[in-house]
């Protein structure tokens, strides 16, 4: 290692350490006491299972939670149990191998977490991943998101056809969120949190999808509106295919 390389590494390590300290404080500020307790429980359980990294992610870290927001955590390591946790928690757990494969394949959730997440624990994998993203100018893959959007729309349609509109709303919300993320990525815009997507879509000129998504997040759309929303999503996806 040359003196310049060494200096760069020392500086990079210092920046990363500062981020970890700041993220810890940010996570504490952004969560309610019960959310903090839930996160602390998941973190402790993950560390007991030997997790390589744990990050708080999703709308909480953007301070844009809505009534249906989960507490999102990304774990590199084994999935801990969530028994006794008094919050809706969505744990994205992955092995180190799958984490790298997905990162390199352009997974937007991992990139999102590296960019906006509060890193609560890192034994080096998230630091290395952040460096990799910066050095290679990695951006989320639109192709990958399109596949997820197509799958989400199919599932939402099946649930909607069952006539269970409460369940269909949740599936449609997830599906249109994925369509929105795909559309933004395909247009070179990095998608923010769910409640910010409508604004980003409006800026992109996709006002119909923006309105449908907004209604799914903040209102209780009827079965007919759900059908129209899915149809719109399918048209957008079909046009890309």
């Amino acid at each position: 290692m040359t003196p310049t390389d060494l200096a760069t590494k020392v500086s990079d390590d210092a920046v990363w350490s500062a981020r970890l300290r700041e993220d810890g404080l940010r996570a504490a500020t952004l969560q309610t006491p019960s959310q903090r307790q839930a996160t602390e429980t998941i973190l402790e359980r993950s560390l007991a299972l030997g997790a390589g990294a744990v990050a708080l992610t999703g709308s909480t870290v953007r301070a844009r939670r809505t009534v249906m927001s989960d507490l999102d955590l990304m774990i590199v390591g084994q999935r801990p149990g969530c028994g006794g946790v008094r919050q809706d928690v969505d744990v994205y757990a992955t092995s180190a191998k799958a984490f790298w494969e997905r990162l390199v394949a352009g997974d937007d959730y991992i990139q999102w977490t590296l960019r906006f997440g509060c890193i609560l624990h890192d034994e080096g994998i998230l630091h290395a991943a952040s460096r990799h993203v910066a050095e290679h100018g990695l951006t989320p893959s639109a192709e990958r998101k399109l596949i997820q959007a197509d799958r989400g729309l199919r599932l939402a349609r099946v649930v909607l056809e069952s006539g269970d509109f409460d369940a269909a709303r949740e599936q449609c919300r997830a599906a249109l969120t994925t369509v929105a993320r795909w559309l933004l990525i395909a247009n070179g815009v990095f998608p923010l949190s769910r409640d910010e997507l409508s604004g980003q879509l409006f800026m992109l000129g996709c006002s119909d999808l923006a309105a449908a998504l907004r209604r799914l997040i903040h209102d209780v759309p009827s079965g007919e509106e759900l059908r129209s929303g899915l149809q719109l999503g399918q048209q957008l996806v079909a046009a890309a295919a």
Partner: protein, 151 residues
């Protein structure tokens, strides 16, 4: 939606889940199995005065209470958690859902037990209401007869 409708919905979702697993579509299967399990818990909870709301973790809490009160022979909360996470992971990555130590037939059988419990409870409520209707009808007949006797 009434608890009676929820019990019916639980059975419908369970049937869809079974069919999807049989058709080797585990993503749809796990989605409907989770819906069936939650609908059964909500139906039983509402019929027994146990609080639930929209949040998934509260349905898990209700499952624990239903088991503690011997309304359900098994604590369904770990199954609810497993299915909730599995359906999200499978929907996102499109991969085969991971059920840990469980096999799909074991999960189907466990959830069906809860669905059956909800149906049995629904049947009891319906029988009770039939009896009540019958009693009301008898009461009305007596009242009508008394009216007839009024000069």
């Amino acid at each position: 939606m009434s608890p009676l409708s929820k019990a019916k919905l639980a059975r419908e979702h369970f049937t869809r889940a079974s069919a999807a697993f049989e058709a080797e579509d585990p993503v749809v299967g796990v989605t409907f199995l989770h819906l069936a399990a939650e609908a059964a818990i909500v139906a039983l909870a509402e019929m027994n005065g146990v609080a639930t709301d929209r949040q998934h973790w509260r349905k898990g809490q209700a499952a624990i209470e239903l088991h503690a009160r011997d309304i359900l022979s098994v604590d369904l909360s770990p199954v609810l958690e497993l299915l909730n996470q599995a359906r999200k992971d499978a929907g996102y990555e499109g991969e085969e859902p991971s059920f840990g130590d469980w096999t799909p037939p074991e999960l189907l059988s466990t959830v069906e037990e809860a669905v059956r419990a909800a149906e049995d409870a629904m049947q009891s409520v319906e029988d009770g209401s039939d009896l009540a209707d019958h009693a009301t009808q008898n009461g009305e007949d007596v009242a009508n007869a008394e009216e007839d006797r009024v000069p």
